[in-house]
Symmetry: C2
Subunit: 208 residues, 2 copies
């Protein structure tokens, strides 16, 4: 079942918007309590007070609920701007550690990663979410260049991804924990690669 309109985007403050807010909130609670495997349209309908057939019609199913919750949770948090590249990258890494270390805040992004394995729609939403996060975080690198900390030719997205990739790898592939110590090592490794010119230009490998 496809979703033919963006849920809740008509008439802000109207019943549609209130229904969306209730459904998103109920999805968050259900995910935080039972995880992706335990999420059902029935439970979200019951918790939100929105009728099951309305939830099915507007959101299409479990994956639609998760994708909309991700969209609603994308809070345009300001990108770190501490005055140093190292501290900014550290703040970005800590944000990943803190998000997934918090069962409530981490519930939606975790569910989207899970859903992306079998749902094209969830995969598209996840990739757009990460592209947006990585794109905004690239401002950290742009400011380091403006301050003269880095030379002008650096693939900013590659730098940001170098910070997040090892954390997601531990969280979602090896099942290891992430903490501030791991985050510190990830930032140190990224800075070493940046300084060695590995992320120079447009993501091309350096000649070794």
């Amino acid at each position: 079942v496809g979703v033919t309109e963006l849920p809740g985007r008509r008439r802000p403050g109207g019943r549609t918007a209130r229904n969306r807010a209730a459904v998103v909130a109920a999805t968050l609670v259900e995910l935080a309590r039972h995880g992706y495997a335990g999420l059902s349209v029935e439970n979200v309908a019951e918790r939100s007070g929105v009728h099951k057939t309305t939830v099915y019609r507007r959101w299409g199913g479990v994956d639609g609920l998760i994708v909309d919750a991700l969209d609603a949770a994308d809070d345009d948090r300001p990108v770190p701007d501490t005055g140093s590249l190292e501290a900014d990258l550290r703040a970005l890494a800590y944000e990943v550690v803190d998000t997934f270390g918090d069962s409530v805040r981490g519930a939606v992004p975790t569910a989207v990663v899970h859903a992306a394995f079998h749902s094209e729609r969830a995969a598209t939403a996840l990739h757009a979410f990460l592209a947006d996060r990585h794109g905004r975080a690239a401002g950290v690198v742009a400011r380091a260049i403006a301050r003269g900390e880095l030379s002008g030719s650096v693939d900013a997205a590659a730098v940001v991804r170098s910070v997040t990739a090892p954390l997601y790898f531990r969280l979602f592939i090896t099942g290891e924990t992430v903490d501030r110590e791991v985050a510190g090592q990830v930032v140190a490794a990224t800075l070493a690669a940046v300084r060695a010119g590995v992320y120079r230009g447009q993501a091309r490998p350096p000649l070794l």
Copy 2:
């Protein structure tokens, strides 16, 4: 349903071993053709000629089939030993790229990563598989130390993980492709971090 014996470990060459070989081969074919979402005990039973109730009894279900296929596929491939750390790490990275770029070879590890999201048993198998791979690949670092390419105090597992993490991140989280160019960048970043002393000692972050 739990599996109470290792399938096929009794009487090598006997019917149990033949059944296991047929079921593992059928699981590989089904995964390569239809992926994890399309794998079913029914299809594996039909393709292998082993009765469905036998498959359920010995393997417990789809996740048991995948875990056993992973176990059977773990072919003790020799760890690269080219005489240089850089070339060895490159060979490790290429192995990941080539495995997941091949729909047949990549089918089982891909399925295990998917299954690990909702199956404790698959997650345990995945983590053991990666720990074994990373542990064996750490020989690459040990030989670099023996040759005098590196000083003695390097967290070998962290070095190997630094090569594989960005590749798995692209494959399973951002849905980007991996190729030899990406592998080359990953190796260059890892070597820069190693040379900067980031992976010194036992996975402790360096003082910056």
